[in-house]
Amino acid sequence: MRRQIPLMLVLVLGIFFFIQFFVPSRLSTNIYQVSLQWLILISAFAIVLAIGSLVNHHLLKIKRRREHWPYSYATLAGLVVMSLLGILGRFPGLGLLDEIYYRLYLFVQAPMDAAMFAILAFYMASASYRAFRARSKEALLLLVSGFFIMLGVIPLGALIWDRIPDIAEWIMMVPNMAAKRGILFGVGLGITATSLKIILGIERSWLGGGGK
């Protein structure tokens, strides 16, 4: 029973929404519209569990004095302050809280977000330096095509030889596109097959346990 009901639900909903795609009638589209809103709402509740996990993880760390435990206070403080300001700030008369929330976002969260992203520039350099070596035929192809594109993107490439941007675009448009399309066919089939497996109840990992 415990697994039959969810499996039935998946089967029925899966088939229904597969068919719905082909039925343009009013009833069908209305159901579709409402379902989209339901999807958003249902998944929103899981955030409570997730935050529970985060809080629990850090409280435990502090309680047991595990390595680096004092840092957990930073996480907990950030979580409590940000969520309260964000929710309470919307209520009338509490605009000041909303203003603080906005500031914290702009000057605490956003800069760290951007800095983390910027680290990628350095990692691109170290990764390409390490991996772009002519170790094999395949690696050589990776290296040469990467090199040409880097040269082709910048205005400087055209100054060295005016055909370089064209070669770069050729690489992007011909071999690159062929590879992407080939991969995309496979991915499309993989996605469809997995969706089908979920609907038919063959793919049950989400029930917990691999396939029982």
Partner: protein, 210 residues
């Protein structure tokens, strides 16, 4: 060198440097920034979920418009909370089944449309565009061969021997050239992001760049 007098800018600058310090090695400054980042962004996420999913899709329809239909997904969503119950723990499978059933069902036909049928159309169409002739036709055919070869690399039912091996190898060449190209093309994007940070540090924090 003139420093900003805005304390918020200082906070942002110091946190930026804390994150960058990770490039040298993991250290207490990074550790602090990382923990704060996780907490603050998780809190922001909570507020966003509340203000943009719960309020407009549950509170407003039910309590303002009295559309009680929306209580149902609300109740289904709340079943997630039974996770810690030993007896009713299985109830979380209901919202999961709803999410998976709907999204799998909605996904199949559009995926077939976009990833298979339309790709077939453009693969054939590009290789045979009328009136192109010359190099365009050659490259069209090369692309076509590349697509077939790449696809053959993902054929799992046979050992890669004989013709399939040749074809799969050609496929791998195309894949490698494609990946090299993507990598090279990404460098610019990543540098752009670093530029943004450097501009912030040198413009807003230390007023060097005007």
């Amino acid at each position: 060198m003139i420093f900003s007098t805005n304390p918020w800018v200082w906070v942002a600058a110091i946190l930026t440097l804390c994150i960058f310090s990770f490039l040298y090695r993991e250290n207490p400054f990074y550790r602090f920034a990382e923990h704060l980042f996780v907490g603050v962004s998780a809190g922001y996420g909570v507020a966003v979920y509340f203000n943009n999913a719960i309020m407009p899709n549950l509170y407003v329809p039910v309590f303002v418009h009295h559309d009680y239909l929306f209580i149902i997904p609300g109740l289904i969503g709340m079943m997630f909370f039974f996770r810690f119950s030993s007896k009713l723990g299985f109830l979380i499978l209901i919202p999961l089944a709803m999410l998976l059933g709907m999204s799998s069902g909605m996904g199949i036909a559009p995926t077939i449309q976009a990833d298979i049928i339309r790709q077939m159309q453009s693969t054939i169409g590009d290789a045979t565009s009328a009136g192109q002739g010359g190099w365009a036709l050659v490259w069209g055919i090369v692309t076509f061969i590349g697509v077939i070869a790449t696809l053959s690399y993902f054929f799992f039912s046979r050992e890669q021997k004989g013709a399939l091996k040749v074809s799969a190898n050609i496929g791998i060449w195309f894949i490698m050239i494609g990946f090299g190209a993507s990598f090279g093309n990404t460098v610019m994007a990543r540098i752009s992001l670093l530029i943004g940070r450097v501009q912030f540090l040198l413009t807003d924090w230390i007023h060097i760049i005007k």
